[in-house]
């Protein structure tokens, strides 16, 4: 048994842990022997090519996919109804549901539905919490705007307010850079770091965009069916790791002096 990655000390609680997790579809492994630890108060980035198993790994953490082999633990327990309430989820921002007839406030309120319970409507208390969340993401003045008319960046912030409204301990993000322009992305990651510090939550995000992950994650894992690296962002750029994760198509993924293809052809990059 091998344990990937540097342990950052035993003081902090482990919020998400995967031990020797294997997942396959139709006789093909999508995840092979995944070991992963995410601690309280850190932004954990998982980077890898499309088709490398990132979304499956997210689904395993969210409890939507049960691994064929291995152990998944959230806050020290097997994922169940109770751990679900402690996890917030941000989907990829899609342009598909532009006409869905809800306001920004309605979307944030959805984050409280599981606390409100069946057969009841959101009351004034829920609206208060939702408005407070909107104020924290600087969207209070857009509360009554149709969600579909907001920009990608605004929609993403509303989703973060929704996911955090029920005060989860862990936030899971799927490709947070998709559908959001670069200025909005910067604001978004700033907001994410703010929530990490204020609420002391953990964030797990997956992306194929290595630049975004390394710039904003506290620790990262590089995933392509297996985990090739698990630790501080900087040392992920070891050429052999990059080659393993991205293969020969690396040059279209990254344009950075440290990347594998560039370091193989050093004369092209002097900086």
């Amino acid at each position: 048994m091998k344990e990937h990655g540097a342990d950052i000390g035993n003081k902090k609680a482990v919020y998400a842990e995967l031990q020797d997790v294997w997942v396959g579809y139709y006789n093909k492994w999508v995840l092979k022997s995944i070991y992963l630890k995410c601690y309280q108060g850190e932004i954990f980035g998982i980077v890898g090519p499309n088709g490398g198993g990132k979304s499956t790994l997210l689904k395993v953490i969210l409890g939507l996919v049960r691994p064929q082999k291995g152990v998944v633990k959230l806050f020290g327990h097997r994922p169940d109804k109770h751990t679900r309430l402690e996890v917030g989820y941000l989907p990829q921002i899609s342009k598909a549901d532009r006409s869905f007839p809800v306001t920004a406030l309605d979307v944030v309120l959805m984050g409280l539905y599981n606390r409100i319970g069946f057969f009841k409507r959101p009351g004034s208390k829920s609206r208060e919490i939702a408005m407070e969340m909107l104020a924290r993401i600087n969207m209070a003045e857009h509360a009554e705007k149709p969600f579909g008319l907001l920009s990608g960046g605004q929609q993403q912030r509303v989703h973060i307010a929704r996911a955090l409204a029920s005060k989860p301990k862990l936030l899971v993000l799927d490709e947070p850079s998709t559908g959001v322009d670069s200025v909005a992305q910067e604001d978004f990651y700033e907001l994410l770091a703010k929530f990490r510090d204020e609420m002391n939550i953990s964030v797990i995000m997956v992306s194929h965009d290595i630049g975004v992950i390394t710039a904003h994650a506290d620790r990262i894992a590089c995933l392509n069916l297996e985990i090739h690296y698990h630790g501080e962002p900087d040392s992920c750029f070891e050429p052999e790791i990059m080659q393993k994760v991205y293969g020969k198509n690396l040059n279209i993924m990254v344009h950075d002096s440290r990347c594998a293809t560039c370091s193989l052809k050093k004369h092209e990059h002097n900086d």
Binding site: R84, M110, Y113, N114, F119, P146
Partner: protein, 267 residues
């Protein structure tokens, strides 16, 4: 204007139409949001197999149609969830299978004077006070249950995956919605017909979505569209001596086009 209400069948037809309008409107609201129009078409057509089975067994076709339609709609949902097929393909198969079963059942039954045309395209002369009771009971059940589960159904329609992660019982809600969709189809079959009812499972919600982007006004407008279509359609069909179900659907389509054009000028 008064004479029309002195006829018992017209009174029954109006009562059925007025009770069905909010049911079809609210169901269509979710059909449009969840993009289930084709499921509506498939479930409506499959009810034909159930009607024919009722004739073959000599029991109430409404009863067998309800059982049949609920079974088919849930089977479509199950295959869409678990199979390697898309729901779309499952609908294509069940739709044809149930219709074919219906033709075979009718052929096997010894009742030759069955008013199949009335079930397919609606026959307001056939609406009995028993039908009104069934519409009131099942329609009431559909409306009350949607009212009680509204926020959960809205959340699942908005984003199924997020709803699932938030602990919503997505599988239950999906099958529940398919069940009430099937009920709505069957209770509408005498007034509109199973071929035409799929139009009213889409048009009220689709028409309303053209001119508003809030859900409460959208539902209110959908109900208004359905009421104007059924009541207006019944009146017009009576005076112009046209088929009631078809007139209702044509009127609702015209309202859709008017709101569609109004919606283009809104922004």
């Amino acid at each position: 204007m008064i004479e029309i209400f002195s006829l018992e069948f017209m009174r029954n037809a109006f009562m059925a139409g007025i009770m069905l309008s909010p049911v079809l409107a609210v169901v269509s609201f979710f059909v449009v949001l969840r993009r289930l129009s084709f499921v509506g078409v498939g479930v409506a057509h499959s009810a034909f197999g159930g009607i024919a089975l009722g004739f073959l067994l000599g029991i109430s076709p409404t009863l067998t149609a309800i059982v049949f339609a609920i079974a088919v709609s849930n089977a479509i949902g199950y295959i869409g969830r678990h199979g390697k097929l898309s729901a779309d393909t499952a609908i294509g198969i069940f739709f044809a299978f149930a219709m074919a079963l219906g033709v075979v059942f009718i052929g096997m039954s010894d009742q030759y004077n069955v008013d199949l045309f009335g079930y397919l395209f609606g026959n307001i002369l056939a609406i009995t006070s028993n039908d009104l009771i069934i519409i009131a009971l099942l329609g009431g059940f559909v409306l009350i249950s949607i009212f009680l589960l509204f926020k959960e159904l809205l959340f699942v329609s908005f984003d199924k995956e997020v709803a699932l992660v938030s602990g919503m019982p997505v599988a239950f809600l999906d099958h529940f919605f398919l069940t009430i969709l099937a009920m709505s189809v069957v209770i509408s079959m005498k007034i509109i017909g199973i071929i035409l009812v799929s139009a009213l499972l889409v048009i009220p919600g689709a028409a309303a979505s053209q001119i508003t982007d809030r859900y409460i006004p959208m539902i209110a407008i959908a109900i208004a569209v359905a009421l104007i279509s059924t009541v207006g359609g019944l009146l017009f069909s009576y005076y112009a001596d046209l088929a009631s179900g078809a007139t209702i659907v044509i009127l609702s389509s015209i309202i859709f086009f008017i709101l569609f054009i109004a919606g283009r000028f809104r922004r």
